[in-house]
Structures are given as structure tokens and as C-alpha cells.
Symmetry: C2
Subunit: 238 residues, 2 copies
């Protein structure tokens, strides 16, 4: 039947219904633990369970010392993959074209590939690659983490013009012929959760992007965005 015999689910289902049908709009206050125990005549544990479940569903958030509130139906920002491949920072360009202000900083350093990366880049595990970390911010919040790996020699000269990867590679005589993105969802790692200021229960979208020149991978990167804020848009003409 609909109303389960697990007591906390009764509470969850009722609150969820109210949130989804708009009775409790975005920002509305959810009854506190104490109020729930009285209202639904359940124990404190059940009330807790219910709240926790709704939090991990992403429907509400808890503000410690204050209360639980209905999460704003965070509009998912579309990221138009490879619409802006000819820009130095496709991500920032995409968001700027949507009228948002995006800033970022990055730093590069040499690193040894390791087995995983060696496979992706087609180099020896002991090879040295250039690793570049990016952090993108907008509206004062962190939006995207990216880590790019390239074999040595293609790194942008200090103070060089900011051009797209494709253009930069071309200048080195490497013609990029294909871009492949492999995308999955997962729980953020602790460092990512911190860097992206993710609330509990939010997953990330993890894109592994590889640029190919013929059958040789020439760049690969890991792109991490909060799953509750973005959607990826892919488009192909037939």
C-alpha cells in the first residue's frame, strides 16, 4: 500500500507530497523534530529519520540552530558541451553567454602520470605530464573543478595569449581530430565536497574528456560539477 508501515515513511511521504505539490514552497520552514513528534505522533528517532531522508533526497536542507527549509528548486544550469571548444575556457564562455559572471584561477605543475592516467594518455606510468588545476567561481560560489593533463611540451608559454586547446595544439603541429567525453555520476570525494561547498546528499557529474589527434590522445581532463546545479547538453547534427 501507499502508506508504509515504517512509521518514518509516513512522515516522509506526507512532507514530500506537500513539497512537490507546492503546499510547502521553496524556503518554507519544515516542522522541527519536536513539532513532528507531536504532529505525527511518532518518536524522536522516526522524526529524525524522516528529516534525514528528505535531506538526502535533496528536497530540504537543515540549517543548524535554525531549522529545516524547503530547498529552492535549483534550476539546472545547462552546460553546452563543445559549443565553445574554440575558446580558452569553454565553461566560462558558456556561462558568460548566459549572462553570468565567472572567474577562475588555475595553476600548473609537473606530475608523474600513474597507471590510470597512463592508460588514458597512452604514455608510460612513469612519464611526466603537465597537470593544471582549475577552479571556476560564479555568483561567489565555486562551480566547477577541472584538472587537465598534457604530455610535456605543449604547456602554454608563460604570459602567452589565452587560446583554445585546439588552437594551441595546432600551433605545435598537432591537429586535434576528435573529442570524447565519458560522463558518470558519483558521490563527491571529501576534497571535492569541500572545494565545491557541496551540501550532503549532492552528487557530482564527473566528465573525463580526452582530446585525440588521430589515434593518439594528446590531452585528458577530469571535470567535476555539482549535480544539483548543472545539466550537460550534447547536440549533434545528423
Amino acid at each position: 500500500m501507499a502508506t508504509s508501515d515504517r512509521v518514518y515513511l509516513r512522515v516522509v511521504e506526507d512532507l514530500r507530497r506537500q513539497i512537490l505539490d507546492g503546499t510547502l514552497g521553496p524556503g518554507a520552514v519544515i516542522p522541527s523534530r519536536a513539532q513532528l513528534t507531536r504532529k505525527y505522533r511518532v518518536g524522536e528517532t522516526a522524526a529524525r529519520h524522516a528529516l534525514r531522508a528528505l535531506v538526502s533526497e535533496g528536497l530540504i536542507i537543515g540549517r543548524i540552530g535554525s531549522g529545516h527549509y524547503v530547498r529552492e528548486a535549483s534550476r539546472l544550469i545547462p552546460l553546452h558541451r563543445w559549443r565553445f571548444l574554440d575558446h580558452a575556457t569553454p565553461f566560462a564562455t558558456d556561462l558568460q553567454s548566459q549572462g553570468r559572471h565567472v572567474t577562475w584561477d588555475w595553476h600548473s605543475e609537473p606530475a608523474t602520470a600513474g597507471s590510470d592516467l597512463a592508460r588514458r594518455l597512452g604514455v608510460a606510468a612513469s612519464a611526466t605530464v603537465t597537470r593544471t588545476h582549475y577552479v571556476f567561481r560564479g555568483d561567489g560560489r565555486p562551480l566547477q573543478l577541472a584538472t587537465a593533463y598534457e604530455p610535456l611540451g605543449f604547456a602554454p608559454h608563460a604570459g602567452a595569449e589565452r587560446t583554445s586547446l585546439v588552437a594551441r595544439m595546432y600551433a605545435h603541429g598537432v591537429k586535434i581530430t576528435e573529442v570524447v567525453e565519458s560522463l558518470h555520476t558519483r558521490e563527491p570525494e571529501p576534497s571535492e565536497r569541500e572545494a565545491l561547498e557541496l551540501p550532503a546528499g549532492v552528487h557530482v557529474l564527473h566528465v573525463e574528456r580526452t582530446h585525440w589527434a588521430g589515434d593518439r590522445p594528446v590531452e585528458t581532463s577530469d571535470i567535476i560539477v555539482p549535480g544539483d546545479r548543472f545539466r550537460m547538453v550534447y547536440s549533434i547534427p545528423l
Copy 2:
């Protein structure tokens, strides 16, 4: 510092480390609540919290009456989006080309569009569309849910050959020029959790796919796959 002052995190961190570095391999049994309280000298609540956290991270699963076990590092099955667009069921073809056996069943019915769908299909909210539900199975497990919506008139004739959507539309004089996929991650709805037999804490990948003929959408579908089993692969030549 690394070891937090939240007691249960000490347990989580220690177990997580052991799982990630292989000390506890896939299938290995995690100490029970009682054992954890003794081993880490914490209360039962903290032990519970730790176990629950690891479950929701997807690292372990709990089998009631038996114990908690390290989850096999479920290899993510690649789905090559639009590599098999010229097949009746790209999903099944893709998996079959990877040596898996996939079965599916579906049923069609008329339905009124509603506001959301009306926007996606560019029709009136009161318009009638053909809705087709698909359930794909493989290895005895449900793998994918899909719901396709088309304006009336294009539905396959009963007993007609199974051809791709593109070919079928073409036979109706509609030339599909573009395919757009919008992808995001979210918590599964209860019905999806049941249909896909999803363990707790697993998200789904939700693909909204729309076929365009010029500037007119002619088909749209919602494709739901378990986030812990699949990755989406997109590729474009430059």
C-alpha cells in the same frame, strides 16, 4: 587535521581507507555494529552512523540478517550515445556489441501532453501524444527505463518492421536533422527505484533526448539508467 573530532568519522575514515587501499577487498565482510563498538571503543550510535555513511557513499552494502560487505567496484558500462542511432533500440545494440544479452519489453498508449512535455515537444498542453514505455533488462537485472513521446501519426504500425526512429520518421517524410541530449543526475523517484531495483544511495542518470526536424521537435524521451552501473560516452569529430 585528518582525524576529525566527530567520533563516527574516525570509524568511517579508517574503514574507507582499508576499502580503497584494498585491505578490505570486494566482498569482504565489514565488522558488525557490536564489533565496531568494541574495536573502536565508540557507542552503538556512532557505529551505526559510520556504517550508514559508508552505505550511502556506495562503498559497502548491508544485507539484513547477515552483515555489511564491501561493494564490488562495479565497472561502469559505457553507453556510446548516438553510435547506434540507426538502430531500433540503440541501447540494446550497444550492450549487445559489448557481448551482453539484453531483452526488453514496451507498450504504447495515448496520453495528454501536459505543460512540461508541451514545452519539449512544442505542442499544446492539451495535445494527445503517443507515449511508449520501455524496460530493458540484462543479466537478469533491469538496466534502463525509457519513455518516448511522439505526436500522433508516427507510431509504428502494429507488426511493422523494427526500424530506427530516424528511418521511421523519414518514411513519414520527416527528416531528422539534429539530436539533443540534456543529461543530469538526481535521486531516483520511488517508482524508478523499484523498477530498477536500486540500492539506497544510488543516483540515476536522466537523459532528456529530443529529435529535431529543422526547428521542430518531433520526438522526445526520458531515459533513466542507474548511476552506479553506466557511464555515458559522447564523441565528436572536429
